[in-house]
Amino acid sequence: MDIKDFIAPFAVWKRAFEKPFTVKKPIDERPGAPRYRGFHINDADKCVGCGTCEAICMNRAIDLVPVEGRDAKEGDSGLRPRVDYGRCCWCALCVDICPSGSLNMSNEYVWIDSDPDVFRYTPGVEPKPWDGSALGYRRAEGYRLLDGTRVPMPELDHHEAVKSFLELVRGWSREQAEKEADRCVSCGLCIASCPAHMEIPGYIKAVRDGDLETGLRLLYQTNPFPEACGRICTHRCEEACSIGTDGDPVAIRWLKRYIADQVELADYSKALPRKEASSGKRVAIVGAGPGGLSAAYYLALLGHEVTVHEKDEAAGGMLRYGIPEYRLPYPALDKDIGYIESLGVKIERGAPVGEGRSLASLRERFDAVFLSTGLPAAYGLDVPGEKHPRVLDGVAVLAAATRGQVLGLGARVAVVGGGNVAMDAARTALRNGASVDILYRRREEDMPADPDEIREAKAEGARLVEKAIPLEVKDAGGKARFVWNEATMVQKEAGKRPVPEPIPGAIHEEIYDSVISAIGQGPELSYIAEADGVEIRRFKPVVDRDGLATAAGKAPVFAGGDLVNDRKDAISAIADGHRAASAIDRLLSGKGA
């Protein structure tokens, strides 16, 4: 210890002549940093109420609550997160994980009250002073807890693909499937959008856990066509997927396919529920498409004896005759149908209902009838010259392809229409070595076909001619001279889709070997006689919620599938089949309507 030790301490007084450290008005002067994790803000319009924030919150600080003026709709549960500030720890994991990116934080941090019950609120719904704050915690660029990118699906190269009918999509390996399944947050928003309301989060979890038998069981709960749906489903679920709000939606369809592909048919019976004891009731089903066979599956499972009447020589309906092999290989379809048949479902092939096998006679012989005859008849172009021999109908072309007939489409083919049938026809034609023009009355974005299908058709070499209004088909030495009028899209009425308006004089024509018309299909209803008492309106049997068609007389008649519903896809037909099966079962077993 020296003298310095007595003198040096007085250096403290230096500070007395400097500026104090004190912040003059701390409350006003010090807003939170631009990244400060303050109170929550939520863009309630962007939010889809998926509840992922609730799931990640380790404090259980978040509740999902219904809010005024926001009902559930497809892809939005209508619920919004409500934060309990008696729980929150401001870790912002909810912000990091929010699939839509709607949940964020402001940099406001002062909230004081003597009432402890007020510290709860629904950000973005209950107005707060910090709403719309520009500063505050946001996810850093390039930083996400969830993966917004889908695992790429291995596909055949388009140049290769177009050479054969080999399946285009190869399916995932276990690792890929598990990685994709990992992206799911199990919010369940998708379930409502699926016509069959499949237990999607459940089977995705099964993929994640590697428990495919559970997965298969969950699939078969509502859908006995996992192989087919895993390939060709219109996957409306993916449109509702919360991950898709800011990124690629989870590839639900491919995961379904993965489960079905991985389980051998021989192992199905181990995973799936057993048939119930025979009820002694007999059900007739007309049409062995997805709707009919689904009904058959569930009815058989419930112990009813089911006979399916199919006009074609093979079962599957549009799945077989309407969808080309490269999208849905026949072995996959046969696997689905095979399992249904293995339950004892009798499928009478080549047995159309109509002459000699009337609906009335079915109603005599069976306890209930389910009609699922779909839309087999193509509508014509309805332009002058539509009866030209080179004007073919898309459905027929696809069916012929399925039957392995020589199509003889020629080298230059026009496909008129923008639906999936048009795409399938175009790609079938491509695979037959033709060069293909797809003519569509509106724009590409208006096309009802799957975006994937359009993309692939184009990639395989089809030329898309938009805004082409067919005018006439003329003969050109055995070939068809197709005349169309170029159109411009006019927004004629607010709120409705624009109408193609022909541009005067902009007439084009082209000579094709074949013109495939694929503008739409209609039902074949001639087998329903007036005496059957089935009410039909605008070529659709009128059914109630269960699929029961109002019918007088003996056995009840149910109807479903494309024949009845407006969605006109396989999954809706399957849903109809399932629903009708349950209703039939209730009716037959007397469990009440």
Binding site: P9, G32, R35, C89, G142, Y143
Partner: protein, 387 residues
Amino acid sequence: MRRQNEHVIPPETRATPDLSSGKYLVMWQGPQHPGITGNMSLRLVADGDTVVDCETHVGYLHRGFEKLMERRLWMQNFPLVCRIAVPEPDFNEYCYAAALEELAGVTVPEKAVWLRTLSLEMIRLASFLMWIGGQAGAFGHGTIAQWSVTMRDYVLDLFEELSGGRIYHMYIIPGGVRGDVPDGFLDHVLETMQVIKKNLDDIELVMFHNAVFKMRAVGLGYIPPDWVDKYGITGPNARSAGVARDLRKDLGYLAYPQLDFKLITGGRSDAFERAELRLAEMYQSIDLIRQIVARMPKDGPFRERLPNPLHWKIPAGETYVAAECTRGEYGFYVVSDGGDKPRRVAVRGPSYTHAVSVMERLVRGVNIADVAGLMVSLHTYPPEIER
């Protein structure tokens, strides 16, 4: 005033004072006591002014972290761990993240490594600044605390800018960090370091060249070198006893092997030297922060993509990850049974030994007035004892 090097080493075995004799005064220091670091308490038995026996009582802050962690998903534990040591939360975040990354086989991007090093070094500095105020305050010198806590606050401002949080930064997330540095942040760091260094110079002058402080601290709480292994003493307490151990050197984690710094050791091993050593480490921290700022890669990813946190499963295994915090060896022992939640997470806080077994022994024979100063000179944080 004790002369230097004339150390009294308290006996290993506890005397059993006859409390009914009326000769002793039993006294609780804490939990509500300004001379206690954090919320814990000492039961002192005093003979006159001299403490003859001491029992530590902890658990006032016990929240059952290790149990709670077993109930939460791997990622959900990330906000929880930082609460274990309030003044120095980042070490929890780092050890937990590093243990998970090791078990899951994740490699952290270079940029994240540097940002982690930066935040660990910054929190070391902040924690030391808080401690030095406490050390001066424990001997009654309030002015230093007024300055140093403000300096610490400047570091917290940096954290707020970097991570969005003042106390709980929750910045080091498994896989990397949660964000890159904001614009101008590194300049702010350097400016702040300049301010802190200037203030540290003042503190050194006032506190370490202070006759009264020396009288109080020199010779107080001598820790013999052989206690280091015997009691599991780590950090500045061990280094002051002349044992050259610093996990930053020994384990070479994060970017420390690429940084240029010397291990600081002492030998007199009393409260005064421990304080001096920590002061030197504060200067070292400032230097390290400057080095990190200079050498940190400018670009690059800052987080490795991990599986969906809602279903993240970590392969079965166990590991122990340690890091050198201001008090010594801070470690996380993590056991996974292959599930989406930890099987067991055990936290090793350096205060566990310092504040309980070492403290109990060191306090014996010390004047009551020195208990606070001695306790602070061990630099302990109760929450990491009881978790």
